[in-house]
Amino acid sequence: MAKKKKWEYSPAPESKQPAAIAGRYALFINGKWQKPSSGTYFNSINPATEEKLSEIATANETDVNKAVQAAKQAYEKYWKKISPTERGKYIFRIARIMQERARELAVTETLDGGKPIRESRDFDIPTAANHFFYYAGWADKLDFAFPNKKANSLGVAGQITPWNFPLLMAAWKIAPALATGNTVVLKPAETTSLTTLKLAEIIQEAELPPGVVNIITGDGQTGAWLTKHNDVNKIAFTGSTEVGKIIQHTLAGSQKKLTLELGGKGANIIFEDAPIDQAVEGVVNGIFFNQGHVCCAGSRLYVQESIAKKFIQKLKDRIGTLLVGDPMDKNTDIGAINSAQQLKTIQAYIKIGKAEGATFFETDCVLPKKGFFCRPTLFTNVAQSNRIAKEEIFGPVLSILTFRTDDEVIEKANNSPYGLSAGIWTDKGARIFNLSKRIRAGVIWANTYHLFDPTSPFGGYKESGFGREGGLQGLHPYVQLS
């Protein structure tokens, strides 16, 4: 009997056309595209193909100063004065144009950052638009957000975003700042500036008064000038704990308000009474979403010892079905690592894990020849003392530990300098309440992982940062109450 042909999916590469990426991007200052005074540009590449996508301006100190002055003037001249309802209208307009240009933004985000098109299309872009919609609603209702108090705006907010969710993080930062009456100077991460620059186009299209939002591009030095600038009244930073500490040093003794959203090493905890199959999904989603480039990734997996063997087998079976490859293909589950540098970091950690004696497992999927890719990786037989259990890897690498009792796992989960996120999988409601009260993490998911909503605050404890973004709480960092 002839062997039947295996049924396979069809390749479904998204067209690059809708991205419409310009050959070169200038700085968006005072409502206009301005050439950098440095005269220098750096290349932005597609991490899946290593091809050049565009050239992006490097803002030097003069440019940073220009942007901050533009924001300051816009604050005094327009944004402070217009009615909150008018402010809200502008923000609604941004949200709607983002929806209209959703395809363009999704394709650009995937080309620029390497994340699967399915994620940028179904998660990044719609959630970013939702943040603008949500905070647009707050603009004229601040009296209800802070009853019996007056919420005063701060002035110029300096904002620095990371490379893992470029547009979404820009939305998290710009939307509440504008809603509360502040003006903005935002610097996106060097490797992923394109969607933020497109957001600048959208802001232009929405006819915001010039200078209310300024987008300047560049590397860490540009960010340093921005945080140091005297006329900036508030700094919001999302990125590594290392840089967060430097910013805190810089700002010490200044009047500037600060919020930091830094690294994490999320504990995802599976009890023996957990909904096993859904927990497997939650673990997969927790660590392999966006190639593991997620600050709240569930990168430390704690499985109750009684079910560990069975659970790990199920997990291996499941990740064996994940499709790794071209991020532009709609079938792809795991795309490209964001940069050569990040891939190096991840590979270094995999080496460390092996050297430390943990048991290494990776799937046998075929990786594309070009671009930066990493197979989904598991380490079993890991202990708290292993570096791969302590340090943030920021890649598709999961460290699996076991535990016996509730108290033990709480202690282990808290035994980390980080405190951003955790997941609890159990059928017992009381256990969920007990653990979520005692685990020090900003977000704790019960029987799910990586669920986000604009109405829900997000932020960390300990070295994962402070201040909250999202929800009513997300307004606080941008107001002075009187």
Binding site: W7, E8, Y9, S10, A12, R118, D277, K330, N331
Partner: protein
Amino acid sequence: MTVKKPVLNPQILNHPPVEQTGVEERSVRFTKRSIKGPSKMQGLELVLSMIDLTTLEGKDTPGKVNQLCTKAKHLHDHIPGLPTVAAICVYPSMVSVAKKALEGTKINVASVATAFPSGQSSLRIKLADTRLAVEQGADEVDMVISRGKFHAGEYAYVFDEIAAVKAACDKARLKVILETGELGTLDQVRKASTIAIAAGADFIKTSTGKIQPAATLPVTLVMLETIRDHFQKTGKKVGMKPAGGISKSKLALHYLVMVKETLGDVWLDKHWFRFGASSLANDVLMQVAKEKAGNYQSPNYFSID
């Protein structure tokens, strides 16, 4: 000689709980795979070969059943090389008619039995019903579980009944209908699936088609996961049949994706997976014709029997 009667092992009732939100999230992911061109054609032909073409009406007559059997044999002769459906599914009284009409083909005759669709009768009647179907020549028996007993917590009764029907089936393959629309939660679906498989089901099936909701992706996923866990534990395969509410090709292809990613390619075969449907076949045929001709054709070209 006595055959050892299977007994319900109470331990199997301690199955892992099911979280509905997670199941729904996972189900959505199956709908996002890309199936077009040759992949779509292969998928559609696979769907056709897995259909249990069904008529289960009080007004069924030999005439109606004969016509349905003709349809089963000649799905759409304008397109040569199409597979036939897997089986015709009828009431026990119509089995002999179908059997005769399908003589010489590889199409099976499936018969519902056990006081279908409610199952509200005694074991004696249900066994007689089953034997009638088998004696008439049914290759497959689609039984219903006693949902009343299940809800009353009498799991051993439900188990014993399935085991008894299985014994009465002789060589016919037994499909056990859980009627998930009456079970209430996915936890209950998991429990009923576990009991049915342990009692000897060759297939587990979602619905009678008489109750809404019938088959859904989340319900089917929970049943497939039960089958997978059983297979991993015992090495024994069990088939799956979603029935009712699957009338469009696109949805049927989503089911195939789910089977592929949950149980693997081995299950993508009519021996292990079926669709219980009456109007699905024509929709698939229209899609096949469209793939061949490049444009949609009028529904009038596709016979309705």
